[in-house]
């Protein structure tokens, strides 16, 4: 492995680890804000206890999202300095704006929310958690706009004198359809992540007949949010898939292990590929479905890997433009499969709730805590497909990933930080899982007098 491979591993590890925490933070802060709003409206102390219980889990999770996020901002310059030089004119702006608009908002109002229970009026205090929630949304948008530009670059020219990409139209970057499609899918995915987390933990307590009123309410809110959001994820994912088929047909072809261009292409359910020779040994398909999904027509044409490769060699010069097909193919299937299961969990849960048998349906209460793993699986595989499917490009059609790596950083340095971050993140995972499971199983705090809270939190 050279410095380039190690830098890619490092980006993958630090980014996937960071993204374990982000969607849950976004999902939980909105759910917590909804619960606090309910308390503010009704003054029912159960809602206050819910706010504190889920809010505490949110804070444990948020802390890790914040500290792993600093690495994200620094590693472009550390490991990918050639990339930073080439795209800084464009890519730096959304990052800076994310910091100025979102990070200040989140961190400041979160501090006010944590420590402000007795020092702020209930109204202002409620506004604080909503501002944190808005901050997470803003943050998501700007970082996704930056990523969307790498997937589908718009509003720029490459200056022939400096050899650098230059921003020509900031508005085009903000209105990039890829950015909005990313944003919708990711935010909805984050709501489902928060939803599954609350459903799973509530089920754990309901199965033990523990605080049934509080956890039934939590479960109800989470089931409703999860149902709408998981259906939204499916629809936005469908839209996104059609966009990808237009913008990055190689990614679509790889996700389907479709080697030759076909009309009326089938949707592959299970394939064993022969990557060397560009074909599949086994491929179980639902006929015509891929054409229908990507082109909305029965016999629409879907391009195959081998044909796109030939086309790209003509356009971009010799070399392989084929990503790691096996990983992308299975990542896509795991994501979609997990998404479907989450829709099912929400539907079954709501059905049981309506019938009034949720708390006696022991099989459901015992099974759904496992569903907490589903959004993590879907979030990670979704990004693995998105990022690995773009390879060998770092900016699609503009810059190869191999050309993006830092020239001045030797293999020993990258190896050192790779090992360092992996060990640190490993340790923190253990601590985080320990704390989350400890507090998830704990009894929600009793409220002795209205809004009484010690002045100290840490």
């Amino acid at each position: 492995m050279d410095a380039f491979d190690l830098a890619r591993w490092q980006f993958a590890i630090t980014t996937i680890f960071h993204f374990f925490f982000v969607p849950l933070s976004i999902g939980l802060v909105f759910l917590t804000a909804i619960m606090q709003t309910a308390w503010y409206r009704t003054k029912d102390p159960t809602y206050l206890r819910m706010t504190k219980f889920w809010g505490k889990l949110f804070l444990i999770n948020f802390a890790l999202g914040v500290v792993t996020g600093i690495v994200q901002e620094f590693q472009f310059g550390m490991n990918w300095s050639a990339y930073s030089r080439f795209v800084g004119d464009i890519f730096g702006a959304p990052l800076a704006i994310e910091g100025l608009l979102a990070f200040f908002l989140e961190s400041t109002f979160l501090g006010l929310w944590i420590f402000g229970w007795t020092r702020l009026s209930p109204r202002i205090h409620l506004a604080c958690i909503w501002l944190v929630a808005i901050g997470t949304g803003l943050s998501a948008f700007f970082i996704l706009a930056a990523n969307a530009w790498m997937q589908h670059p718009v509003g720029y020219v490459v200056n022939p004198v400096t050899g650098r990409a230059e921003l020509k139209d900031f508005f085009a970057m903000l209105t990039n359809i890829t950015a909005w499609s990313h944003f919708g899918h990711t935010m909805l995915g984050a709501f489902v992540t928060g939803g599954m987390f609350v459903i799973g933990i509530s089920a754990y307590h309901l199965a033990r007949k523990h605080e049934t009123v509080l956890f039934r309410r939590s479960m109800t809110i989470a089931l409703v949010v999860s149902l709408f959001a998981s259906l939204g994820v499916a629809f936005s994912g469908h839209f996104q898939a059609q966009l990808v088929a237009k913008q990055q047909p190689m990614k679509t072809a790889a996700a389907e292990a479709l080697w030759e261009t076909e009309r009326g292409a089938g949707f592959s359910l299970f394939a064993v590929g022969d990557v060397e020779n560009g074909r599949n040994h086994i491929n179980v398909q639902l006929p015509h479905l891929l054409s229908v999904l990507t082109t909305n027509t029965w016999n629409g044409e879907v391009q195959g890997i081998n044909d796109i490769q030939a086309e790209y060699e003509q356009r971009y010069g010799p070399g392989s433009y084929i990503p790691v097909v096996g990983v992308i193919y299975w990542a896509f299937r795991l994501m979609v499969g997990a998404g479907m299961l989450m829709i099912l969990v929400s539907l079954v849960g709501l059905f049981l709730l309506r019938r009034g048998t949720l708390e006696t349906a022991r099989w459901f209460l015992r099974l759904v805590p496992l569903a907490i793993a589903l959004p993590y699986l879907a979030n990670s595989t979704g990004w693995i497909m998105t990022e690995m499917g773009r390879q060998p490009w770092v900016v699609f059609g503009v810059m190869l990933t191999r050309d993006a790596v830092s020239g001045a950083v030797g293999v020993g340095f990258v190896a050192t930080t790779l090992i360092g971050f992996t060990v640190i993140y490993g340790v923190l995972s253990v601590v985080d899982v320990y704390l989350l499971s400890k507090y998830a199983r704990s009894t929600p705090p009793e409220i002795t007098e209205p809004s009484a809270e010690p002045a100290l939190v840490y």
């Binding site: 804070l59 444990i60 802390a63 914040v66 500290v67 996020g69 600093i70 690495v71 901002e73 620094f74 472009f76 310059g77 550390m78 300095s81 050639a82 930073s84 030089r85 800084g88 004119d89 890519f91 730096g92 990052l95 800076a96 704006i97 910091g99 100025l100 608009l101 990070f103 200040f104 908002l105 961190s107 400041t108 109002f109 979160l110 501090g111 006010l112 944590i114 420590f115 020092r119 702020l120 230059e166 921003l167 020509k168 900031f170 830092s406 020239g407 001045a408 050192t416 930080t417 360092g420 640190i424 923190l428 704390l435 400890k438 507090y439 010690p454 002045a455 100290l456 939190v457 840490y458």
Partner: protein
Amino acid sequence: MDHGYLNLETLWFGLIGVLWIGYFFLEGFDFGVGILMPFLGRDEVDRRIMVNTIGPVWDGNEVWLIVAGGATFAAFPEWYATLFSGFYLALFLILAALIFRGVAFEFRGKDKHPEWARWWDRAIFWGSALPALLWGVAWANILRGVPIDTHKEWAGSFFDLLNPYALLGGATSLLLFTLHGAVFLTLRTDTELQIRARRIARTLAVPGSLAVLGFLTWTFFNARDNDGIVPGVVPIGAIVAVVGVEWLLREKLDGWAFLATGMCIVLITATFFLNLYPRVMPSSIGAANDLTIWNASSTHYTLTVMTWVALIFTPLVLLYQGWTYWVFRKRIRRADVEKSTPGNGGEAASPI
């Protein structure tokens, strides 16, 4: 090359300067509080008070660094790329420290096991001390010049960063941030802890002043005379401010003392930027390889967009961050904390 001062490159150089000033002023005292934990925190109550003095604000303070990084990426990509890939291992150490420190604040109170808080307190100490030292080392190196080749790439090794001037820079920032934190604690605590904080601040003020004096004098002799703006009043102001701290504390003028340590940090950071201008990273190989605000910057279009965003949102940020400090302006009283600290038997401070 004479462009005057009225241009976007100069504006963004100045804005990044302001972000670093804000970062060092704010995170400076919360680093100091973290460094002083094992020295001033005699029991769990003390340590909880100390963590809670910065509890609501440390995260917001750290965002100044993130925005400074982002603004450098956006406005001066070549600076960002050369600096971050060149100071590679130093930045890794800073990141590792900030990661453990940030998590430690949130996690230290989350488990009753006696060893639990101890471990996180160690993380708070090292996570504060290491960056407090390394930021001084890093900035002294930027000022001194680092090996940058004709391709704007770093051409040195990690050990190039460990020269005597830079180490003095590190010692200065470590002392100054610790002093700043000690003075901050005199404003936010009461009884015994406040007295101890004032005592340690007075003790630190002497070596702190000497370090500032030595470092700025060396900086003066290091400066290349054909570059930079050198209004002597800025570094001299920094020295005057820090020299006054001991007297202000003796007179129990804690608020003024905090202003003085703060001004010292502000003026030293301003000195960095004034001495650099219009360079952002001088090359020790030759002035022809210097990164400047002209050859490291983004296009005018990007700078214009960024200027509008900054003009609209920066005042808003300053307003609500200022409001936070107003909301949490009250001292944390020991009597209140004793009530809410379970099993505080006044156990001895943990060795690090």
